[in-house]
Amino acid sequence: MGEFKVHRVRFFDYIPSAIRTMAFNSQTERLAVARADGAVEIFNFNDNFFQEKVIPGQDGRAIEALCWVGHRLFSAGLNGEITEYDLENLRPQYTVDAYGGPIWTISSNSQGTQLAVGCEDGTVKIFAILEERIQFQRNLNRHKGRIISLCWHPSSAQIAAGMTDMITIFDAETGHATRRLLVDRATGASKNKEVVVWSVGYLSDHTIISGDSAGKVQIWNGLTGTLVRTYLVTKWDVLVLSVSKDESSVIAGTSEGTVIQFQFISSTVDQHDKEWVRTRTFRNHSHDVSALAHTDTAVVSGGMDTQLVVRPLLDKVEKNTQESALRKIAFPHRSLVGCAKKAGLLLFQFPDRLELWKLGESEGHGKPGDRLPVKRKPEKLIELKRKGEDHICCSALSACGGWLAYSTVSNVRLYRIQYSNTISINKVSKLPKELRSVHQLCFSSDSSKLFASSCQSSVIVVAVSQQECRYLHTLKHKTGSRQPVHLLCASDDGKWLATANTDCEIHIYNLHKMKLHCMVPVYNSCPTTIAIHPVTNNLISVHADQQIFEFSLVQKEYTQWSRRLQTQGLLSLWLERDTPITHITFNPKNLDHIILHDTYMFCIIDQSLPFPELNAVLWNQMTLKSLPVSQRIGQSHAFKICKSFQHLMCVSLLEDLSLVVVERPLLDIMSQLPAPVRQKKFAT
């Protein structure tokens, strides 16, 4: 296969934002996750936990709670507003001020007709959910102290509200408080500190479960208002609770980073009266667990340490399968790094800024395993702060490095960069009005056109030149899908543009004729990356279930290679990888080579070599290395996998055939997080 010079880049100091809250929609199997910077991410649990949508955040939008109502997603936050999201255009659809101060919690009734929000001023406000909007109905009787947590009774007749030092049960009809459950403060020194009920659950049998700042999980009888059972689970706070759909299990997240499960079971065999028993403890987080979701088969948790953890419940899934494996999602499922292959530049996308770096140069030659002396260090050319309060949702750098574009939900900006002795960056004013709200940006390989995916899966084509920026066309398809285009890819010869949307559709447009060329047969897993081969014009697509397809744009059919791959099947080791392929590049020197990467490896697929047999070793580089050259041919197969670099944000091949590898070690991220509440010490 050969030697590669690798630029190993570790200066992309990307820090994901902490997970604040989450909501799971069991009908659609979608998980909505809100981050501390106000971004909302949608994960599809039916499709390998693929992060299919990201709604960028906004300064000042501190989301405290999320709530699904059917397909609609609502959030409420400390800015006092309730927001509904437009999941097709990936932006807030509208916001409504509740006029009750910061909102701590939001909850809908089981019919999906009413929303209740708990406000700082002590009111519980009921909103009617109408089509396209929500409307304020009334306040429940006001109490002193803020409403921290809310939960509707499944019958929608009562609402339990967690406050400071107590839980109040309201009659949803009359608005009167029917019961007050007093919550004990912590003993000892913190006796004077009021206890905050961070989370409540309200079950069909009128059992109320609460988690509070004194570290207790308490089970109450909501009918009599009596305390049934107290579990002291932590010295710190119980921040969040989540009840399973069948109400047989409750999980609680603590500041210590643990998740504790309680189950409604008989404590002894042959006994029929069930009770809530503490069963399992999961430790997958180093910091506060502030968001939890209890799916049918798994515990989903997230918090300060920014990782989303899906921990399958082993009594609900088949053991030793891919389904039973713990999954940690640490990085976004899309590329935050742009690479100008001709110019050797890297573009790093942060929510609030862009950084443009020039790669360094090495001196001399070396043999495999060597580290070459760096003659010129990498250099940060430009740091571009975004304007306005909306966060950056996408960015693009042209292959020549001369153009840079980024977009927020409200705005697109295009810059011309000139490299002479000094670097100058000029904003292109007067962008066509069609370029307003886009989800994805991409330059043509000759940098003459900019493609932007817009509303209803359409793509806007804009011509860019020194003089002007001119709107050319809007490319539309005919399937009626309104889902956003999350992947854009233009062919090297400038003839083709491929788009993929979250309905799993891949459309091919002919840019010469400016019209739809064809649609790739829809596969039932979402494409995670697509790329068009520079010479053959075959489209390579990799999907969330790790399948790889090659589609000939000219013949409008899957290629022989693709058919062979599907017939023979991919190795289970390949299919069981738990991070998606997020980027594909090609080797201009060897047209058989497809270079792709996920978080933990990069792989060069050699299309001229046979596929590995189903019983073959997929990671066979060490074996091949140990063999004499003459025997390697017999042992080698199409998948050349390199795991020397980990936590990959980008792998790309520059024009001079050197690889660029952008790593973001998780340890570096962990070291920049605030100290956890409880440091583990020896023998404590």
Partner: protein, 578 residues
């Protein structure tokens, strides 16, 4: 067609002649066996049966294009064997032909480097096995062992692979041997002779002396080698070289090599020149002084020793019996400079033995420097010359004593103790007895230091230690305590390659002495302070060790952390994919 002629022992002109139906390769005859006729195509007949019917049909054993290269006869207690090696298209085969009843087994020789054919074969019979030795032009001598029992019944159609083991790799330099011959002399000795490549000296080990004059005539392509009655015969041209040899029984010490010397000579010499603090007398300083003797590198010591040549040394040995000390010294010096290191072992042993026995017989005769020189060759050990150390002790030649202690790997514990007992008079009468003043004189100290480093076994040493008087023990313990304190001081440099006893050796000896004499020491008033001191040492050691044990885990973690390489923000690396 060949004619077989049989001559009468005495009357050579009378002969019985018979014409046989096939070409004869060789008639083999050996003491205690019947003559055997080997035909060119591999068939074998007893001479008697052949002569009885000369025209009998002779079968072809060998394949087409297969030709005999070498043959030999082996006579065992009950059987006669003919061994034939053949060549066929570059491959070599071995036939083991048993006579009466006849059966044959064919073996295939493993291939050496392409194009290399064995230069010589030799077969010997030992312990119900035939031992085949063969030499290749690249200097490799292989041995294959064939069992004479269990010879296959199927007539040698199938060639079995013949397992071999590399016995020797002779240095041949860049070229290859043109002609050479190898022969096993006994289990451990092999004689090799060959035409030297211009740039190399083959058989340099034992045959070097011979080769110097043999080289001149070695133009013949065939080199043969016989041995009979402890002599090797080498015909060349019109002359026959006869070399007497002796296969010395290898001693355990020489077989094991020197156990205690892990430091190489080079290091030792280096440290000689560095100025070392004299707080603990250094073996090096006193033994060698400033004039460190350049000695030959010892790393090429071999357990397979070579036959030794006495042609030269015999003269020296004869000389040593009568000549005066100075003359002997000259002779030995000359001999040592002439001889190659590997040749020395037997002759040096003989020289030392002669010198020692003469010294013992004649009290006036003693040649300290010559003996020291011999010990310095490192070819001597205690088992070869058991009287040497005791002689040195008797003559109060402590220098030689120390030298023996340093270089002999096999000094018995009894002799070690004997050394320990000497020179009790060398006690320093310290005016103010302090623990930091060395309780013994310098020479004694050096001797004790050397003894401390001598290998020993507890069980054998203890009974001899019990023989020491209590004064001796107290003195010795005082010295050990002094050493211990020296070592405990931070300032004491524990130099690499510095020949001094290690702390654990000192502690082991303290324990041994206390074990052997504890009851006596407890009753001895002057030992009381010493014992109390030692007790406090032990206590402090235990405390230190327990403290170290506590942080051991942390230290190990530190060690692990260092191994990790920091990568930094940016690097350019080369990787290779296969």
């Amino acid at each position: 067609k060949s004619i077989v002629s049989v001559f009468h022992d005495i009357l050579l002109d009378k002969a019985f002649k018979a014409t046989v139906s096939s070409d004869v390769w060789k008639v083999h005859c050996t003491h205690g066996g019947e003559p055997v006729v080997l035909f060119q195509r591999g068939a074998v007949r007893l001479l008697d049966s052949l002569l009885a019917a000369p025209q009998q049909p002779i079968e072809e054993v060998l394949a087409q294009e297969e030709a005999i290269r070498w043959s030999a006869i082996i006579v065992t207690e009950t059987q006669q064997f003919i061994i034939i090696t053949t060549e066929q298209k570059g491959e070599h085969f071995l036939y083991l032909q048993r006579l009466n009843p006849n059966s044959v087994q064919r073996y295939r020789l493993e291939r050496e480097e392409p194009g290399l054919s064995p230069l010589s074969f030799s077969a010997t019979y030992r312990d119900k096995h035939i031992c085949l030795l063969y030499l290749y032009p690249n200097g490799h001598v292989y041995q294959s062992v064939l069992s004479v029992r269990g010879l296959g019944t199927e007539e040698g159609v199938q060639a079995l692979p013949l397992p071999r083991s590399l016995l020797l790799g002779l240095p041949v330099g860049d070229g290859q041997l043109e002609a050479a011959s190898a022969m096993a002399l006994d289990e451990a000795h092999v004689a090799v002779v060959g035409v030297p490549h211009p740039s190399t000296q083959i058989c340099s080990n034992s045959f070097e002396l011979c080769l110097h004059h043999l080289c001149v005539d070695f133009i013949v392509s065939l080199i043969q080698l016989w041995s009979y009655s402890n002599k090797v015969f080498i015909p060349h041209g019109k002359t026959l070289s006869i070399i007497p040899f002796e296969c010395p029984k290898s001693s355990l010490a020489s077989a094991l090599g020197k156990l205690k010397h892990t430091k190489t000579e080079g290091e030792l010499n280096q440290t000689c020149h560095t100025l070392t603090p004299n707080s603990v007398p250094s073996w090096n300083n006193i033994l060698h002084g400033e004039k460190a003797q350049p000695s030959k590198s010892a790393e090429t010591r071999r357990t397979v020793s070579w036959i030794s040549v006495f042609a030269n040394s015999e003269f020296v040995i004869v000389h040593t019996v009568t000549a005066p000390v100075e003359e002997i010294q000259k002779e030995v010096e000359g001999f040592l400079t002439r001889a190659e290191f590997q040749d020395l072992q037997p002759s040096v042993g003989q020289l030392a033995l002669t010198l020692v026995s003469r010294s013992l017989a004649d009290p006036a005769f003693y040649s300290s420097s010559t003996l020291a020189q011999l010990v310095h060759t490192r070819c001597l050990c205690h088992s070869v010359c058991p009287d040497l150390v005791l002689l040195a002790l008797e003559k109060k030649d402590y220098f030689l004593c120390q030298l023996c202690l340093q270089f002999f790997p096999d000094i018995p514990e009894a002799v070690t103790c004997a050394c320990l007992k000497t020179r009790a008079e060398d006690v320093k009468k310290a005016s103010a007895p302090s623990q930091l003043i060395c309780p013994v004189g310098l020479h004694k100290a050096v001797l004790i230091n050397e003894i401390l480093q001598t290998p020993y076994s507890d069980t054998f040493l203890l009974p001899h230690l019990k023989d020491l008087s209590s004064q001796h023990v107290v003195l010795f313990l005082q010295y050990l305590q002094f050493l211990y304190l020296k070592y405990s001081q931070d300032a004491f440099p524990q130099m690499e390659g510095f020949r001094s006893p290690s702390l654990s050796q000192i502690m082991d000896w303290v324990c041994l002495l206390l074990d052997a004499h504890f009851t006596v020491l407890v009753m001895t008033p002057e030992a009381k302070g010493l014992l109390l001191n030692l007790h406090s040492f032990v206590k402090s050691q235990v405390r230190l060790v327990s403290e170290l044990g506590k942080i051991e885990g942390s230290l190990q973690e530190l060690h692990k952390m260092k191994a990790k390489e920091s990568i930094g923000q940016y690097s350019i690396e080369i990787i290779e994919l296969f």
